[in-house]
Amino acid sequence: MSDQFLFGIEVVINGLMAGVLYALVALGFVLIYKASGIFNYAQGVMALFAAMTLVGVMNGQVPFAHLINSILGTDVHHFGWHIPAVIAILMTMAVMILLAWAVQQLVMRHLVNQEPIILFMATIGLAYFLEGFSDLMWGSEIKKLDVGLPQGGSFWIEEMTAGLGGEGFYGFFIDRLDIVATVIAILLVVALMLFSNYTKEGRALRAVADDHQAALSVGVSLNFIWVLVWSVAGFVALVAGIMWGTKSGVQFSLSLIALKALPVLMLGGFTSIPGAIVGGLIIGVGEKLFEFLLGPALGGATENWFAYVLALVFLVFRPQGLFGDKIIERV
């Protein structure tokens, strides 16, 4: 096997891993869209907020410290304790559930029956709000997140595969964090599938997704379901936030992964959970391969737009995405 070919394979594998991370964010979108028809732009900022809260709780930061100091003239910054990762994650989850409840009570409840574009705009407003709010609460500097996930290249894989190529090939370089992320993503999808198929709440959730009014008429509480959906989306955001935060630090750019998740959604279809996974993998592999093969000729950094153009071209031939429900229009 030639070295170039092996590098190609390495690119594909790393693309798959990146795709899993995209899919993690896309999952949150799909969950909310299916259950309430809301295209939740704030999903990426929710991941940022979750990661920031997690770091803040773990390090015992005082929330709103900067604001308090500037108004009262005090100098508080840390409580001076460190909380183990597991407990901190649980506390963050509680915060995310609280956020879900607040969003439902303060925003979405008042926008029932509005056009989808209005709901979409509301979530953009929510994204702005949350972004400013989390900066106010925890400060805007880049933070390191370490919940004990393994990181760095896997030497074992590198040594095992080093023999495949010739002189210039040192084995596949694969980040252990990516492997963990893949495993977690698979677990998450399986758990979500089990939840929506075998629990009472999960069935209610699917019923609401099918038909709001029919679900209401058999006694499903819409309010409860929507809080539930936003909480689950918050949970997915937390997982995505932990993964991306461990990988590249907790910072503003984390919220931009939401934009990366959009082409994934388009490719897979807004309404399909498997679609989000497959779409994520296609985008991940596609953009890495494109950059590898044609990037140098085009001037590099093609990753910025490749996913969108791929999705655009794809949609022209299949407007509802790979796995989306067929769009039926009636007058």
């Binding site: 574009i117 702005y128 400013g132 959009l262 007058v331």
Partner: protein
């Protein structure tokens, strides 16, 4: 008492179908125009021009453009920033390629180029609808910004990758470059802004505007009653992009003077213009102005109140600004989904009966 239509009789059809059929509205409009053209240029200074008036006029043009596409034709676009970049860069290319050309023509040509690019990216709208289209327009945003960053021809191989507006004149008066006086830049933008508003207003109440609205309300039904969806959607994309391109050219040449594409025309700009349209009111020309004014004045006002009067650190003010803008958008959507334009309409209805509502 102040707002009456009694005694206001139209005797001819043109009189009845003019933009402001009520005398009071018409006179108010003339007064505002006269004030903007005859009074403001004499009292304007650099701070007012750069902090409020220029961005207001330029964003208003962009908002009118996006309002045609999203508010009248129902095609949500998140690529406005990218199209503004097309306007800016084509204006720059015209400015440097033909140094003797009037700036007026440069800007119009930039609009034409942007219209062509807009039609190109509007083609998928024939197949893709709704949110899928909104996300598809992101392709335009990211691809165009990348293109202007990576292809040196667009920025004339300058070392910094920036484009700088050289001095160009209209009727012998400099409107771009460092020697521009505030009133010249202001008047230049104002002419474009007023012209855009008049053109847009007349397009949207004519047959083409009715076709757009038919497509917006239900495209299949519109197709059945004989509206050609391809023609309607593509004209909407073309005309909308034309205005957006003009605004991009003005934004670069008159307001900023030097532009780095990733910063000036990022995705944030697309959202900003979309917010203006939503807060101002979808499907309303007046709403485009109201939304632009609101979102231009808000950060300035917050900075004055927060940083200068209350003495808060600037980073906190910046964060608070995000919180306030986000919250305001949500509050607006909850209280009045049709934006400031609808509030204005309601106020007029109230005034018509005031002070004897029964």
């Amino acid at each position: 008492m102040f707002y009456r239509e009694a005694g206001d009789f139209s005797t001819t059809y043109p009189e009845d179908s003019q933009t402001f059929p009520i005398k009071f509205d018409r006179y108010r409009y003339y007064v505002v125009l006269a004030f903007a053209f005859l009074v403001v240029p004499f009292i304007i200074n650099d701070y007012w021009a750069n902090a409020i008036l220029l961005p207001f006029l330029i964003y208003a043009i962009a908002a009118i453009g996006l309002n045609i596409l999203t508010g009248y034709c129902g095609q949500v676009s998140l690529g406005t920033g990218g199209f503004m970049a097309v306007g800016a860069y084509s204006c720059y290319k015209f400015m440097t390629a033909f140094p003797d050309l009037s700036m007026f023509i440069n800007v119009l040509l930039a609009g034409v180029v942007t219209a062509a690019v807009g039609v190109l990216f509007g083609l998928p709208s024939l197949r893709i609808k709704g949110f899928y289209l909104a996300v598809a327009t992101l392709a335009a945003q990211f691809f165009l910004v990348w293109l202007f960053n990576r292809v040196p021809w667009f920025y004339n191989y300058s070392a910094s990758g920036q484009i700088n507006a050289p001095e160009r004149t209209v009727l012998g008066v400099a409107v771009t470059g460092p020697n521009t006086s505030a009133w010249a830049a202001y008047l230049f933008c104002l002419v474009f802004c007023v012209a855009s508003a008049i053109v847009a207003r007349n397009l949207t109440r004519g047959s083409i505007g009715r076709k757009w609205m038919a497509i917006r309300d239900m495209d299949i039904a519109a197709e059945i009653i004989g509206v050609n969806p391809m023609k309607a959607k593509l004209t909407a994309f073309a005309i909308s992009s034309f205005f957006v391109g003009i605004s991009g050219a003005l934004f670069f040449a008159l307001y900023l003077g030097a532009v780095e594409v990733g910063e000036a025309f990022s995705i944030q700009k697309s959202f900003l213009i979309l917010f203006m349209v939503i807060i101002g009111g979808l499907g309303s020309i007046f709403g485009s102005f109201a939304g632009a004014a609101f979102l231009v004045v808000l950060p300035v006002a917050m900075k004055i109140v927060g940083a200068d009067m209350l003495g808060m650190p600037t980073d906190i003010v910046a964060h608070l600004q995000l919180v306030v803008v986000g919250a305001l958008i949500i509050v607006f959507l909850i209280l009045e989904p049709h934006g400031i334009a609808q509030l204005w309409r309601l106020a007029k209805e109230k005034l018509r009966l005031w002070p004897f509502p029964h």
